[in-house]
Symmetry: C2
Subunit: 145 residues, 2 copies
DNA sequence: GCATCAAATTAAAATGATTCTAAATTGTTG
DNA sequence: CAACAATTTAGAATCATTTTAATTTGATGC
């Protein structure tokens, strides 16, 4: 298969260097699969994916990658702090490319997430964490129907 | 099998009427299984269960009930407003016997939940729900490690 | 009481997201 | 370019949960 076929509408030249930099920064080997997934994840700006949705996106973009690798990569990126896991539904796991302080709207019928900037949100009256426990995160989820 | 065997240590006389009242109130047929599960759920006061944990509790209490029925019953009780589903982990679904306004501490290592009374919690700065969407609930989860 | 019938229960199979395994492939390093 | 560890992958395994289809049971009327 030719790399560039003049007869086909060409996809915009993707910037691989940003993805490469991110992988290097977190010391993950820049394999073909990780580079491609990083581009799909981080070039479009903040959004949410599931393993399935990212896998489909990869296939649509002609990236040869297995679903197992998509799962592996999502977890590695999350462990590295490039992604954040959002638990809103027992049906499946969502990953968020926005790793800054924020909360979520969750559209229960569509299974869609929308970010809420955390800077403006002020929560008062929460009890202190029990002795010996450390707060890893506070999640606010506004469920919509 | 005799209803009462004088040779066996007798389990304390459980108050079935409360469970019965609850089932009647939500128009669920008071079957042996539902009555027993209602007692296990609602007599001890507020607590959290999973299908597995309630099933084990039932077995320990010599209640003959299948895991499928435990699942069915938890969902029916939830639909009836007797229970509330708490989504904190993709590993399994938690059900809460406390259905009043409140939030949660979640101990991620133990998988345990602790209620936070919602009356004292004040959340400011949340954006309004998108046009056409209705807020079904706001969940605050404080994750502890 | 007893028959009737819809509702409920159940064992077992099916599902579906996710993880694991073990073999093949691929970056990296000297 | 050899060597080796890291990565990928197909396919199997896992595990919570749901479904199926058959059996059992509670409610109702007689």
């Amino acid at each position: 298969m030719p790399i560039f076929n003049a007869m086909e509408p060409q996809s915009p030249p993707t910037n691989i260097s940003n993805a490469l930099q991110r992988l290097r920064a977190v010391k993950l080997r820049p394999t073909r699969q990780r580079l491609a997934l990083a581009q799909l994840l981080f070039e479009p700006g903040d959004h949410h994916v599931t393993a399935e949705s990212l896998y489909e996106q990869a296939q649509a973009a002609n990236v040869r990658v297995s679903l197992a690798t998509v799962y592996n990569t999502l977890h590695q990126f999350t462990a590295a702090g490039l992604l954040r896991e959002v638990v809103v539904s027992s049906a499946c796991t969502y990953f968020d490319t926005n790793v800054s302080d924020h909360h979520h709207f969750f559209f229960e019928n569509r299974g869609a997430l929308v970010d809420i900037d955390g800077a403006n949100v002020d929560i008062r009256g929460l009890p202190v964490a029990p002795e010996g426990a450390r707060v890893s995160r506070i999640d606010v989820i506004i469920r919509l129907t």
